[in-house]
């Protein structure tokens, strides 16, 4: 199996060809929105951060900004900053340049002469880049060029029973084809971290898996919360989950069965052809997806039980459910119906092939339902309150 993508000057392969209008801080977000609305193929997002953050929070924000710009689904980036924010234009453009050599333009609102002047200048630059981007043609690539992100949200008993194991089967197939697959959501490893750690390829990876779980728990305890307390919840137990191990196993099953090759901190640069890796992300879906996309995932598969509209500005998100009622109710938002697996588990290999074919189709340009509806909400992980 192959897919049709765009070759980038940094050697990576994209599956979309967007111009990113990147707001360096919350104060540049509305200006970026207006610019993006003027240019065909331009995307942006509301950056709630970029200023008045403690250094660990600023690092998360910088990595998401640089990672989005470097994501191979982006042809070029137009950075828009206010001018006085902590995430200074020079810092942002240096962070982007450390990850990629793709085209980059920059506009500082306080220097351009306010938002209207910035919109005029940046729109013109974005328009030129959009025309350049349109001249690129898709080429055929092997699956080994893909970095697949995995996510689950709005889970119910069908998630752990069929939808997550299905994603795991697709991960196994991609890893066997030489690709990288990313397991995320550290909070949902809790209770099964020892089982996951056993799958570490080296003692270092084993230790890192335990480290990110314990670090997460420590951070939650600092604000008086204990993630193990009351888990599984009364609702989980009523649904049939007996222990925390069982609950977390249902989540981590979406990583499949291969050994874990590496563990990445949030939004750090991933590598192609690395097999199954883990990224330390929150269970919160939009910020987990954003971290993986900043790491370089071109595409995400997302299982749900209750149904969600989640998309992402940079990468298509394929959503699937094994709950037939949910698929019926949320047909406009969900891409893949895996409910046949509940009654016919022997259909797993054929269903995994069908989902992999959908991944290839979307990688080659087919819009997901969230893309066709223009849904691209996102969030950036955070450590503490603003300064």
């Amino acid at each position: 199996m192959t897919f049709w993508g765009y070759r980038r000057p940094d050697g990576r392969v994209g599956i979309r060809n967007h111009i990113l209008i990147l707001p360096a801080s919350v104060c540049a977000s509305d200006t970026a929105r207006v610019i993006a609305s003027q240019v065909e193929g331009a995307i942006t997002f509301h950056n709630q951060n970029g200023c008045a953050q403690v250094p660990p929070d600023q690092e998360l924000t910088m990595d998401v900004m640089a990672g989005f710009a470097a994501n191979p689904n982006i042809y070029a980036t137009v950075v828009v900053s206010l001018g006085c924010e902590n995430c200074q234009m020079d810092l942002v453009t240096e962070a982007i340049a450390a990850r990629t050599n793709k085209p980059l333009r920059k506009f500082i609102i306080q220097e351009c002469g306010g938002t209207i002047a910035t919109v005029e200048q940046a729109t013109r630059a974005a328009r030129e880049l959009a025309q350049e981007a349109s001249e690129l043609r898709r080429e055929e690539f092997p699956l080994s060029e893909l970095i697949l992100g995995t996510e689950c949200g709005g889970s119910d008993p069908t998630s752990g029973l069929a939808a997550n194991p299905l994603i795991g089967e697709v991960c196994d197939r991609l890893v066997d084809a030489g690709a990288t697959a990313v397991l995320s959501e550290t909070t949902e490893f809790i209770g099964a971290e020892h089982l996951l750690a056993r799958r570490g390829k080296t003692p270092e990876v084993h230790d890192r898996i335990l480290e990110i779980v314990h670090r997460y728990e420590k951070a939650m305890r600092q604000v008086g919360s204990d993630p193990r307390e009351g888990n599984p919840s009364p609702g989980n137990k009523a649904g049939g989950l007996t222990t925390l191990e069982e609950k977390s196993l249902g989540c981590i099953h979406k990583g499949g069965h291969r050994p874990v090759s590496n563990v990445y901190d949030y939004a750090k640069q991933l590598k192609t052809k690395e097999g199954l890796v883990i990224m330390d992300t929150p269970g919160n879906d939009p910020s987990s997806v954003a971290g993986m996309v900043a790491g370089g995932c071109q595409i995400v598969v997302f299982s749900t039980g209750r149904g969600t509209p989640t998309g992402n500005p940079v990468a298509p998100v394929i959503k699937l459910t094994a709950n037939p009622i949910t698929f019926g109710k949320m047909r406009d938002n969900l891409d893949f119906d895996a409910s046949g697996l509940l009654e016919a588990p022997e259909a797993m290999p054929a269903t995994a092939e069908a989902l992999l074919a959908e991944v290839c189709a979307v990688a080659s340009g087919k819009m997901t339902k969230s893309e066709s509806l223009g849904f691209m909400e996102m969030a950036i992980a955070r450590v503490c309150n603003y300064v």
Binding site: P157, L161, K237, G240, T243, E245, L249
Partner: protein, 91 residues
Amino acid sequence: MKATVIDAKDNVAVVLGAVQKGDTITFRGAGIEGSITAQSDIPPYHKIARCDIPAGAPVIKYGEHIGLAACDIPAGTHVHVHNVLNNREAL
């Protein structure tokens, strides 16, 4: 009533609907097939023992240990918090 086996190593299956004591449960998945008589009522998506699980033995789902049998669990029995112990395994 049907039940799903997720991994060939599993000694439990997940029932796909409400089960009443005495029902015949056919379980399938991961290359495993069989049937068993339910020894208790079981709510939808809860677990049924597909073989005898002796007291102290691991309860296995997803091919991994999810806890220990708190007592002898005969095949066909509802497996849940009343007969499974949490067991945080050594790292």
